[in-house]
């Protein structure tokens, strides 16, 4: 995304509604967080939006929006036997033009972390193609919950990093739109007058108040010095070793390659994988370098807060808290990291 100077425009509530309608009419896939009431349990899913009214404006979706650029199951190639020969076909990545509308700023920031690893030393054409076709319109947060910790990882509830357009709520209705990229500008043009020029300095609704819980800048050195600390055993006692945290995480990009075939045809799929699963590091020899949950838990923390900064000069975590909310046993990453920052000398 080419950074241009940030344009500031305004949108009334009805204008946002019209914008969403225009985006849908244009044939784009418009995805956003929506409240789903089901079996007495409410949840927020990221799903196709029918209108702005359907958008869940507060709270967070359980899952991240990464599925739009890094789907849970993706076909890479397929083949079939045709008589005596084999027809092998690469899958050319094809994705519809997509707008992620109404995601949180933390989710928008996560795409840079995905980019860092998926396009690290070679281009992941599937991911890159989907990302190039995706425009991110985030809405800043006026509320945070006990799992959120964006301010501990160098961000803010109204951070525009990673958004093509950031919508900030105004105190008396409507939004301030910060248009940061040419992709965002393209939406402004599509909106055809839905965006208004700023008449005066806008009065913003207060962003969520979220005190930092730990200092992410000093954490990498502490982690590097305490690889064998018993804290990792303590923290991971209740961890069940499932993949819930990794799969809802907007920055987690580990994947498995699965070949599915029968005697006539086959396909190669890429699927999400998680370092929390015991078999993630099982070698063909039978040796498993991370056979205990404490080693896998440590890996999760270190990957995001030590190895990522070391390799990519950025954290592998955006402080969204989705991992904590999704975890069946309430592994609250903010609490764990705060404890690590406090306990590790």
């Amino acid at each position: 995304m080419v950074a241009t100077m940030v344009d500031r425009l305004t949108l009334s509530d009805s204008a946002v509604d019209a914008l969403v309608a225009a985006l849908i009419r244009s044939g784009r896939r418009v995805l956003g967080p929506q409240l789903v009431r089901s079996q007495g349990q409410d949840r927020i899913d990221i799903a196709p939006l029918a209108s702005f009214a359907d958008l869940a404006r507060d709270g967070q979706a359980v899952a991240s929006a990464k599925g739009a650029v890094f789907p849970k199951v993706e076909r890479l190639l397929h083949y079939r036997y045709a008589g005596k020969s084999i027809e092998l076909a690469d899958v050319e990545p094809a994705s519809p033009p997509t707008v992620l509308f109404g995601v949180r700023p933390c989710e928008a920031r996560a795409f840079a972390a995905l980019q860092a690893v998926l396009n690290w030393d070679s281009e992941d054409k599937f991911f890159s193609h989907r990302l190039a076709n995706t425009t991110v319109v985030a809405i800043s947060c006026t509320e945070a919950d006990a799992s959120c910790f964006c301010t501990s990882v160098g961000s803010r509830p109204d951070d525009g990093q990673g958004s093509d357009i950031l919508l900030c709520r105004l105190a008396h209705g409507g939004y301030l739109a910060k248009v940061a990229t040419s992709r965002g500008q393209a939406l402004v043009e599509l909106g055809q007058g839905v965006f208004q020029a700023l008449a005066a300095e806008p009065e913003l609704a207060p962003a969520a108040a979220l005190a930092p819980a730990f200092d992410a800048k000093t954490l990498p050195q502490k982690l590097a010095a305490h690889f064998d600390h018993p804290l990792w055993v303590e923290q991971s006692l209740r961890c069940l070793g499932c993949g819930a945290c990794a799969f809802v995480c907007p920055t987690c990009a580990c994947f498995s390659i699965e070949d599915e075939a029968d005697s006539r045809q086959g396909q190669r799929l890429r699927t999400w994988d998680s370092c929390g699963l015991r078999l993630f590091t099982l070698h063909a020899s039978g040796h498993n370098p991370r056979d205990r949950q404490s080693q896998r838990w440590r890996q999760r923390v270190y990957h995001k807060f030590a190895y990522y900064p070391d390799r990519f000069q950025t954290l592998g975590c955006v402080g969204c808290g989705k991992c904590s909310r999704a975890c069946p046993v309430d592994m609250n990453l903010k609490q764990h990291l705060a404890e690590a920052a406090r306990t590790l000398p």
């Binding site: 789907p71 849970k72 199951v73 993706e74 076909r75 994705s95 029968d262 396909q267």
Partner: protein
């Protein structure tokens, strides 16, 4: 003009009773509809319940499972275990919305050539009337981007 629908049936049968019975059907020159593909297993006890689901996933419109009568199992008790398994599996697949009318269970002995023919004919007619079954097969392409 479109070809009329001909159902594909997959039959999982035990070697010692039903497979031999089906063989007798042939040697007795009893004609029956050719829609069934027979898969021979040592015993109905060896039939994994997922074979039923996988048959539907790969294009079967109906499934037949058949083996030795109780007390006649070549391995003494394989069919007893199979029976219990099917008693539970049927309830489960009905619960997840799979049409039980398309799954047929039977005991057919090596001497019952006529019964095999009659079972296949009756099942083929029933499944033909029900129409093609794509509810599970269509899932093979779903959820992959």
């Amino acid at each position: 003009m479109a070809e009329p629908f001909e159902p594909k049936l997959t039959a999982f049968v035990c070697n010692w009773c039903t497979y031999a019975g089906a063989d007798l059907t042939g040697t007795s020159r009893i004609k029956y509809q050719a829609n069934v593909r027979v898969i021979r297993l040592p015993c109905t006890g060896r039939i994994d319940f997922m074979m039923v689901l996988k048959a539907f996933a790969r294009g079967s419109d109906g499934v037949i499972i058949s083996g030795c009568h109780p007390n006649d199992c070549h391995y003494t008790s394989g069919n007893y275990h199979a029976r219990r398994r099917w008693m539970v599996f049927r309830d489960l697949i009905d619960f997840v919305g799979i049409d039980l009318a398309r799954v047929t269970f039977s005991w057919i002995s090596a001497a019952e050539g006529a019964k095999w023919a009659s079972l296949v004919n009756e099942t083929t007619d029933r499944v033909r009337a029900l129409g093609p079954y794509q509810e599970i097969g269509k899932l093979a392409a779903a959820g992959i981007e």
